[in-house]
Symmetry: C2
């Protein structure tokens, strides 16, 4: 199968002019078919604050009331997405910005209220890989904002890491997929204060050990569980690396 | 050639929940291939005000500094566009929201500074009708926000009426195009205070007379000149009508 790279970049990188420029330069040099999934949480929080809307987070997830849904739709699907698309066009990449509602690419379900009412937050039900691969095969590069829809007329706020993982899994039917999570550190670190302690490779057995011994904890845990889920479901490998290292042979590789 | 309807709806209609719902219901019932172009100026003005950004208008055009460009990108390409796309998906229409940067569909040029510096305002250079018709022929319905790009990495704010006109002209190579401008009145009125005085048909000679006699003036004049330009450049007919009359045999028809 042909190769495809799905790259997830977080808020901090896409929201600063200089780091975004560097990232898109590196992204544009990645050979072959590719997809970009982005966040934008910091800008959303800033806009919400400027509009007098309180940002409520529970377990790192944003409680999304109707006003917050408007803010994240504006920031993710408008400001951040179109800025990336225009920049990529300037670099000769024929980008197409999408949210999950566009061409029904990502259908989700409003999260049921248990202990916490997350509001307009959607959990991914299905990724329309036929439509996405059709677009990719035309030489277009999808740029996906973390907003999905319920198919009944409502937009829903959805975690960008989850979108990247689900998109990579769905596209694994069509391509040999590498999923890259770009973040602030060089990879998964053996010692979180030492950037040179990157663990080069992790498989499920090794992950269990890393969790048992407390080396992997906190925010890294859901990222790694997400990665494991991806490789167990057809994605060839997941790479966790620093944005500035994109395209280089570095970071932590997760495989089965 | 196959028929295609390009519909432009203004800010007032798409920004109120009830009128948008009515419009999209009518839009979804229009048979055959179609494109929706929307505005969103009132919401942009409201958001700018809430953020303490002054909205400066000259000759009905928004002076777009860098902060205002962010606001219009958020509102037009984010909030309004994605709300329409999700609503259409709920009505069974496979919509795809686009700004001009997406797939390079509308390339524009930053307006040169003469007497007035409009800032990040773009005049349309070209509409990529091949890409648009390709999408339309797949059964997708493009929903176009009035944001374009310069191909060099910058987004530009562009008048939605102009986008509708230029898109209709470009697509006239591929289809038998009807362009419909939806607005607040029943059509072009002989007496602006009498809704029953709709002029059923206008051609270039008749328009000259209407202008000479002062019946057509003010904001209606650029709309009619825009329409005349469209029909002189391949668009079969332009209809100016009330949003609530969409799909009915009413309003003013402009032909050559």
């Amino acid at each position: 199968m042909e190769k495809l790279t799905v790259i997830k970049v977080g808020g901090k990188i896409v929201e600063e002019k200089e780091s975004l420029k560097q990232l898109l330069d590196l992204f544009s040099k990645i050979e072959g078919k590719k997809v970009l999934v982005h966040g934008g949480g910091r800008s959303a929080t800033r806009l919400a604050t400027n509009l007098g809307i309180e940002s409520k987070m529970v377990n790192g997830r944003r409680i999304t009331d109707i006003e917050t849904l408007k803010v994240v739709t504006m920031v993710y699907a408008g400001l951040v997405n179109k800025d990336i698309v225009a920049s990529l066009q300037g670099l000769g990449i024929n980008a197409l910005g999408l949210c999950g509602a566009d061409m029904n690419v990502i259908l989700s379900e409003k999260r049921a209220v248990k202990d916490i009412d997350y509001g307009y937050v959607g959990d991914v039900k299905s990724v329309n890989s036929e439509t996405l691969s059709d677009i990719i095969n035309k030489g277009l590069v999808p740029v996906i904002a973390p907003i999905t829809h319920d198919g009944k007329g409502s937009l829903l706020n959805t975690n960008a890491d989850t979108i990247a993982g689900e998109t990579a899994k769905a596209l694994a039917k069509h391509y040999d997929v590498t999923l890259i999570f770009c973040f602030e550190k060089k990879g998964v670190l053996m010692n979180e204060n030492d950037d040179r302690s990157v663990i080069p490779q992790i498989n499920p057995e090794y992950l269990s050990k890393l969790v048992e011994t407390g080396i992997v904890k906190g925010g890294m845990l859901p990222k790694l569980e997400n990665s494991m889920d991806a490789v167990k479901n057809g994605v060839k490998q997941v790479i966790i690396t620093e944005a500035g290292e994109l395209g280089k042979d570095s970071g932590t590789v997760i495989t089965v």
